[in-house]
């Protein structure tokens, strides 16, 4: 199966909270991606079947949401916010620093698959800028030095 049985059962339970089958589709896509690493063809086919939609209808939804991706990211996806509040407090320099440290650019992944890098829009950390999200974890009030420590900690974790 495209996703684990446990996740599928969780989806079945949540789908009962809505009057239509497709309603829980967006969270299902995100949680499937968390498990599989990306929205694979198998995930699309499975969720289409589950919601009585065509695969094309599911893909139309996938393409709208910026967190959903059609190929794997690194184990740690470093998302640098460069929107206004972060920009005013050094986000462009932080992005540049990450590019140099990791040797990759926007939406690229390191050859060992450990890190990927992405410039993202506002993540809701405006009063604690500049901020970065690594997968779902927030890192705030960053400087290039603090960023190095963040990256080092993830590297150690492996």
């Amino acid at each position: 199966m495209a996703i684990s049985e446990k996740l599928d059962q969780f989806f079945d339970a949540k789908m009962k909270e809505y009057p239509t089958k497709r309603s829980f589709l967006v969270p299902m896509l995100l949680y499937s991606q968390d498990e599989v690493g990306y929205i694979s063809d198998e995930v699309v086919a499975h969720l289409a079947k589950k919601t009585d939609l065509t695969e094309l209808e599911v893909r139309n939804v996938v393409s709208y949401y910026s967190m959903l991706r059609s190929r794997p990211a690194g184990k740690y996806n470093v998302q640098v916010c460069t929107n206004i509040c972060c920009m005013l407090r050094g986000a462009d320099e932080l992005m540049e620093h990450c590019e140099k440290r990791l040797g990759i650019g926007h939406k690229e992944t390191t050859p060992d698959g450990m890190f990927s890098l992405e410039e993202v829009e506002c993540i809701g950390a405006c009063s604690w800028a500049p901020a970065v999200q690594v997968n779902y974890d927030f890192h705030e009030n960053l400087t290039p030095d603090a960023m190095d420590k963040v990256l080092e900690n993830y590297r150690k974790r492996g």
């Binding site: 929107n83 809701g124 009063s127 604690w128 999200q133």
Partner: protein, 441 residues
């Protein structure tokens, strides 16, 4: 996770449980939790609505629409189920307050949803939280589960004979879904394309049923209003601008943070006293008063305006979402306009042509302009393009892109002129600008 800040001028209503461990249900109960809903269960629906009307609570998402009035638009009789939908898709640049409410006081949101449901006759509520806020989705899941376990949700809540269900939902990255009709589309499992109105959601909303859509902060204020009485809440702010609100101070200030202050609070005091002034001995140039979609204020305007809906409405402008962004005198306004436009271009769903084409053209023009390739006629063209997006789209994203752009051209035209004829950006003469990363997605 996010740092909490404080200031003596704060009046803590919505934020009164921050940092007190109220995610834990027994702690929440010790801090007057779930008392308001029990009070509301003994009230008539119209009395609940009237209490909220009296409070002068206005939508904290940014539109500032009176919450009590919104509730009163829901028809009493309906063949289809009615719904309460909480908008926790917080993504207006500059805004980071709903995050704190969901992190520190999730039960106040659940309680607010039940009260709203009692007021309009709904039995189901959904709490939609943006996809990036996964840790808050987890907190909300736990809070909802705890409330069910205690009998505060589900069948016969608090032994009242009434049923009420609250469910959590999450997005997957989309600014536009913060707009109420796009939010409903997303909750129905679709692309977040806005719906045309009328009909308004209060009449035809989720799955065709009457739906009340409220921002997290608005709904979290409701239990406090029921407990303290609408009049007391109203009295915190000036007439027609009831209560307090969470101001998210960011940008070039010494003490950025989220502060709960009464509506009508002077922006000057917010910047120089609460925020501790501008760092590095610089001066104030501009303020984004309430998220990136609002008209920018210059220093003189910022130092004389009060932070309530009507003080801005008088100028034909908007108080917005509570996201107050401070810009110092070394900020390039052309670069700022470009970054704002890049955002809206990235987030435009493409449904309405003026927004899809307008944001793309404006991004291209501003990029060229900032790189020194601007022509004098571009300055008026930028303003003309922005003006022509206004009011011509299904949802306000087109307006949101146009408004800051128009105000920047109007108030800082000289900075556009300073970039003409291939001159380097006066604030970045080294010319690193052309290397600004461009979002490809």
């Amino acid at each position: 996770m996010a740092n909490l800040t404080s200031h003596p001028d704060e009046i803590r209503v919505v934020s009164q449980r921050f940092g007190k461990g109220a995610t834990d249900l027994s702690t929440y109960l010790q801090l007057d939790g779930y008392k308001a809903v029990q009070k509301a269960l003994a009230m008539q629906p119209d009395d609940i609505i009237n209490e909220v009307k009296t409070s002068n609570l206005r939508g904290r998402g940014g539109a500032g629409f009176p919450t009590g009035m919104k509730w009163s638009f829901v028809p009493k009789q309906s063949d289809k189920p009615k719904y309460i939908l909480v908008n926790g898709d917080e993504s207006e640049p500059g805004t980071c307050k709903d995050r704190l409410i969901l992190e520190h006081d999730p039960h106040s949101v659940i309680e607010g949803v039940i009260i709203a449901g009692l007021a309009v006759g709904a039995k189901i509520g959904y709490v939609y939280i943006r996809g990036e806020y996964r840790y808050l989705v987890d907190i909300m899941r736990q809070a909802i589960a705890d409330a069910y376990a205690k009998g505060f949700l589900g069948k016969n809540i608090f032994g009242s004979g009434k049923d009420f269900d609250v469910y959590w939902h999450t997005g997957a990255g989309a600014y536009e879904v913060g707009e109420e009709s796009a939010l409903m589309e997303s909750l129905e499992g679709k692309r977040g394309i806005p719906r045309i109105r009328p009909p308004f959601p209060a009449v035809v909303g989720l799955w065709g049923g009457p739906t009340v859509i409220n921002n997290v902060e608005s709904i979290a204020a409701v239990p406090h209003i029921i407990l303290m009485g609408g009049q007391k809440f109203a009295n915190y702010g000036p007439p027609k601008n009831g209560g307090t609100r969470l101001f998210c101070l960011s940008g070039h200030v010494n003490k950025p943070g989220v502060y709960e202050l009464p509506l009508g609070y002077p922006l000057k005091t917010l910047i120089y006293d609460v925020g501790g002034g501008i760092p590095n001995g610089r001066k104030l140039k501009a303020v984004v008063p309430g998220g990136s979609s609002t008209f920018l204020l210059n220093a003189e305007e910022a130092e004389s305006i009060n932070m309530d809906f009507d003080s801005f409405a008088k100028r034909g402008e908007f108080l917005g979402s509570g996201g107050v962004v401070i810009l110092d005198d070394q900020t390039c306004m052309v670069k700022f306009a470009l970054r704002v436009m890049k955002f809206y271009q990235h987030e435009s769903c493409g449904w309405c042509i003026p927004c899809r084409e307008g944001t793309d053209w404006l991004k291209k023009t501003l990029t060229r302009f900032h790189n020194g390739g601007g022509l004098r006629k571009d300055i008026d063209n930028i303003r003309y393009l922005a003006q022509n997006m206004l009011g011509r789209t299904f949802c306000p994203l087109g307006d949101a892109a146009a408004i800051p752009t128009m105000s920047i051209v109007d108030k800082w035209r000289s900075e556009f002129e300073a970039h003409l004829e291939g001159k380097p950006c006066p604030f970045d003469p080294e010319g690193k600008i052309s290397e600004l990363p461009v979002l490809s997605h």
